[in-house]
Amino acid sequence: MDQHFIIMNIVTIPHVTIAKEILMDTLFLARLQFAFTSVFHFFFVPLTLGLSIFTAIMETAWVRTGNEKYRKLTQFWGKLFLINFAVGVVTGIVMEFQFGMNWSEYSRFVGDIFGVPLAIEALLAFFLESVFLGIWVFGWDRLPKALHAASIWLVAIGSNLSALWILVANSFMQSPVGYKMAADGSRAEMTDFAALLFNPYVWKQFPHVLAGGLVTGGFLVIAVSSWHLVRGSKDRSAFETSMKFGAVYAFIGTILVTLAGHTQMQDLIESQPMKVAAAEALWETENPASFSLFTVGNEKELKDVFAIRIPGMLSFLAYNSFEGEVKGIKNLQKEYELKYGPGNYIPSIITAYWSFRFMVGAGTLMLLVSIVALYKVIRENYTFSPLLGAIMFWSFLLPYIANSAGWILAEMGRQPWIVFGLLKTEDAVSPASVVSSGELLLSIAAFFIIYGLLTIVDVFLLKKNAAAGLEAAQ
């Protein structure tokens, strides 16, 4: 009896109760799992996108020139590609299953639309990349050179096509088009497949993601090549070549990702003004609107504590002119209350604000580093001071920061919606009677452990095989 009393007492201590409530909250747990598994998945995807094309370019150079250096480089980068690819694939299966497992209400609501690009992705893209990857890995001695090179191109096309289809699906969540609500309001139904595919949002987002892949691949190539050049590995001339290709690749990618990001931001002003306002901590509608350099805000009262802003700059980014209205958080909240009924339509501002700054900040640094790399390559100067070598090496982390921050902004900035204007995230989760908090905790724990293990192993293998150089990759 006494013991029971003591236990009861402990449980009612406030912070323990709060912790207990969080652990019982299936919505929170499902979101945590989605955030964790999708960000982790997207550590591997962009490198797959970028490095598949890079490897294909190397092999094409081999086929066209017959220079053995390019064959060695193809095998070297191909090996790193494979190590990375494996993790991207298996963590992708989790994504496909997760919609049904944790978000069954969402799946019922959007399956008529969202399921279609997912199924097409598997049929058009996954078969292509998987089958031709098998052919490429095992076919070195079985196929004519040109056909072998064609198979890695098909892998690259398959990977990048899969990005297109998953972005068609995601774009419906961001900016729904080509649908009608069912008569009973239970689900959204597709009315126009072409509208779904040619959703303007897709064609702003896809180039951004594609260029993000090039950048991720390019910076990894720069990092590994400069590492070997600094250490004076014996394959010097081959790594000079890959440094040259990598620098051009990273530079083109960085320019493209910046331009694509810029047009995407201009589109967002129209499609999701709240995301832009949150990313800028713009409380009130402004014309001309100012860009925040640094803001410490009070999220509860929706005001600045401290802020440095550049007048007119946000209008310039939005409309290429120092005039133009950008809506503020408070105004949009009122507008949405009228349109969608009472509720809180403001996403986590601190998340949106800082994820945007991390993305743009990493992008700016990438531009600087890629210009330096390009300059050195044009001057054919492949000697690096220890400091410059370290910068060239560690810059491979920048695209990872930008990629993750970009997706966190895209997804968190859309809240409270899971499908903008149609379905709220809180209404999308599997009912607690079907998927209990215990099951969610179990799956979160399982994915934490396994993904942790995969990270350790993947980093170990990439490091070992990257450091081993060209001869070991035969």
Binding site: A122, G134, E189, V434
Partner: protein
């Protein structure tokens, strides 16, 4: 024929393709530790499925995507309801998938052994779980009025489903062993032949037990009628013929027969389900059918066009990849994994 029926048939085809193709690479994954005495032999055994396993697994991904697109309610009820089973399957497929790529990238006996046993467990667990899942589709699970699963994990682990799980585990293992008799030479082929002969009896007995149990536990045979047609009968006959073909050293035919046995028994289960996709054990009215769980006709129409164009293309290039790697693998071949 309405669009719902067409998509039921397509989902059946995708699952059948998955079981026939991934079935043998699950089998090879289960058997490889018992096939080899050293690392080179082991690599040769794994290399028999090296170019194929990933493409085979895409049949599952496509089946999942097709369920989501064509029958969202089925996808949602199944994936949320069978949660712990699917979690276990995901863990298994993750460990197996990376194991193939990781094992060869570091030369250390403990490292290789860890990934080899990951391949074993990652193959055996899904091979068992798919049988358990399929049996529960037809036997019925607690599904309430609003299409939500109302049971727990242990509802899925009933004796009937476990018999089906063990049967699928053994048949896939047999299928893998027969595949290995086709793809290896000398001592490896001898071992594969012995394992195939050994696996035949349990696979056949469990399949027969499952068939009899099905007639007691489910309405499958009542629905198929007194004359169930050639498909269910041939699935049993094909399995029975395997041992004869193996004794005559006819590996190719034996493999064709294990493939037929797997394909036809999958089709039989889906025939018994039709037009239902998940049977409710609480009330037959609450079962999910192809009609109450399907997408709109517009969506199904679009998907039909896409499938009609791209499924044949996929079949051609995947078929071609089997042709490219038709040769047997020996420990003296160029080994990748």
């Amino acid at each position: 024929m309405d669009l719902q029926t067409i998509w039921f048939i397509l989902v059946t085809v995708l699952f059948t393709g998955f079981f026939v193709l991934e079935g043998f690479d699950f089998g090879v994954g289960i058997l490889h530790p018992f096939m080899s005495s050293d690392d080179r032999e082991r690599r040769a055994v794994i290399n028999t499925i090296g170019p194929f396993w990933d493409g085979n697994e895409v049949w599952l991904i496509t089946a999942g995507g097709a369920m989501f697109a064509a029958f969202p309610e089925w996808y949602a009820t199944l994936f949320s309801g069978f949660y712990p089973a699917l979690l276990l399957m995901l863990v298994a497929l993750i460990m197996r998938g990376v194991a193939f790529e990781f094992r060869s990238k570091h030369d250390n006996p403990a490292w290789r052994s860890f990934w080899d046993w990951s391949i074993f467990a990652g193959s055996a667990i899904p091979a068992l779980l798919w049988g358990v899942a399929l049996a529960n589709f037809i036997r019925g699970v607690p599904i309430d009025q609003s299409m939500n699963y109302a049971g727990g994990f242990f509802n899925l682990l009933n004796p009937y489903a476990l018999v089906c799980g063990l049967a699928s585990l053994c048949i896939f293992t047999l299928h893998g062993a027969v595949f290995l008799t086709l793809k290896t030479t000398d001592i490896l082929r001898e071992r594969a032949m012995n394992l195939a002969k050994k696996m035949w009896a349990p696979a056949t007995l469990l399949s027969l037990a499952f068939t009899i149990y099905t007639s007691i536990e489910t309405d499958l045979f009542r629905r198929l009628g007194l004359n169930p047609g050639i498909i269910p009968v041939f699935s049993i006959l094909a399995l029975l013929s395997v041992i004869v073909l193996l004794r005559r050293n006819a590996s190719g035919w034996a493999f064709a027969m294990t493939a037929v046995a797997i394909a036809f028994s999958t089709v039989t289960i889906f025939m018994g389900l039709f037009p239902r996709v998940l049977v409710s054990s609480l009330n037959p009215e609450w079962s999910l059918t192809i009609y109450n769980s399907s997408s709109s006709d517009y969506t199904l129409g679009i998907m039909t066009i896409v499938a009609a164009i791209f499924v044949p293309i996929v079949l051609v290039y995947q078929g071609w990849s089997y042709w490219v790697f038709r040769q047997r693998v020996t420990p003296d071949s160029e080994l990748e994994y």
